[in-house]
Amino acid sequence: MAGRDMTAWVAGLSFLSANLGALELMGWAGSAYQYGILATHWYWIGAIPAMLFLALVMMPFYYISKTHSVPGYLKLRFGEPARAVSAVSFGFMTVLMSGVNMFAMAKVLQIVLGWDINVSIWLSAGTVAVYVALGGLRSAIFNEVLQFFLIWAGVLLIPILGLHEAGGWSNLKIQIAHRTSEQYVHLWSGLGSFTGNPMGIHWTGIVFGLAAVISMGYWTTDFLVVQRILAAKDIRSAEMAPIIGAGFKMMVPFIVILPGLLGLAVLPMKLVPESVATVTGAHSYNDVLPLMLARYCGPGLLGLGITALIAGFMSGMAGNVTAFTTVWTYDIYRPLINSKGTDHHYVNMGRWTTVIGVLISVGTAYLVMQFASIMDYVQALFSFFIAPLFGTVVLGMLWKRATGPGGFWGLLLGTASSISMWAWVKVDPSALRYVAMSPHAKALAQDMYQALWSFLVCVIVTVVVSLVTKPKTDSELNGLVYGLTAVPSIGNVPIYQKPHFWAGVVVVIFFALNVYFW
């Protein structure tokens, strides 16, 4: 674990780049090709409000709270059963997420070097095992900031050259409308109905499913990202870090979404879903970023771009495998299976778990091939695990009446309901009209509504069970519930050093961008 000595800039960039792996780069470029500019919602309304909420509301609380991990918090707030449920679901999520990074890295090796996908997956697995063995969180933080600059240096040239080739943004929109439909370049205007946009989603899915549930849950309770901020040197730096991250986050679509949109306009071939590509051998949506890199970049630039991508995948895999090792060893194995082992025993268990985590990730890498695109897969995972967890954590932090049994049953049934809805649609595709409120919904739209319903199931069950069970006393909840904890202040500083001022600047830019691309 890193000490608390990071400046706001290092913590903020590390916070952002912890979320700039395969998921961001290749996944969202592919989704932009698949769904058009709607993919930008995951960077703006699906990130900025949650990052500012984390900075101004949650961070002061987290910074002085009694725990620095979600399972740890759930144990203190709701007791052992709720902690065990979250540890198991978090363990599942980390290996499933590690697998998607591995798959993406293998895809790049396959496209650029022409290697077989199976060889590429196993090579990626070996590399990440060595990478995790050599570094801890502190090295991961510095590596992520370094990688952030490499990514921008390597990939920024694609939108610059792409816009030049397309003849500017206005001509790009015309070309995309000509080759697909006009709705591929509008953020909000097609969201009034399920059929007016390429994703088959209504604005309620974006605002409530994405912004209010998945995004809030991801940015405020996923400790893979939050722990970066907790390494900030003081409370003001801890509040500023997510705001700095939010400022950069608004620019990321320029290197991630724009290449996907450019691919729609300039690539000569038509890309297909991954599940189709594995059968036909054609290029899939996931290939759009490497294809665009190879289109514009000669040997030197291609090398930098590929290095940047691989650095992103490595840190994504390493972060998830490390988190899996920690959760298995300290949150599942020690409390539930063997609580009497020596320190040496647990260290050895951690080492073996790393190897096993990498091997399970290899299996999950193959699972991604069954989905149309990387993001369809990742957002399904978020709807399973993050949405209900957010319900439990937010009720625990903000409502002192929430009880242990309430937290446990809410989390368990919330998670079960999300997975059940997904399985229901898998078995009977016509169920989509109930789960996603429209038979026209695409996978990403289904994920958003699944998240919303599972969050509501979690909240309703938690509230009902809490009201019929005995609550903890106020003194037991000190440091665990917002209203019962003395939250520190940043003190008297000039206005340009105040987090609220910079959050206001971010909000103004956020609204301007949404209106411009309406």
Partner: protein, 66 residues
């Protein structure tokens, strides 16, 4: 302690010089199958820009003697 920004400067400087050199080489020995927009010679100006930014970071954040 050596600043992380110094390492970022080194990474950008080295990458910039390599990309710039590759671009200059391509200028005199054009590839048989050039990339799209080859005529813009992106590696030369992009590599040059990265090298300049990297050099500024290296100078500004170079480790101070004890």
């Amino acid at each position: 302690m050596i600043s992380i920004w110094f390492f970022i400067g080194i990474a950008l400087l080295v990458d910039g010089v390599l990309i710039f050199s590759a671009g200059m080489y391509e200028l005199w020995h054009p590839p048989v199958h050039p990339v799209v927009l080859f005529s813009l010679h992106a590696p030369i100006w992009w590599g040059g820009l990265l090298a300049v930014i990297g050099a500024i970071y290296c100078l500004k954040f170079k480790p101070k003697g004890s």
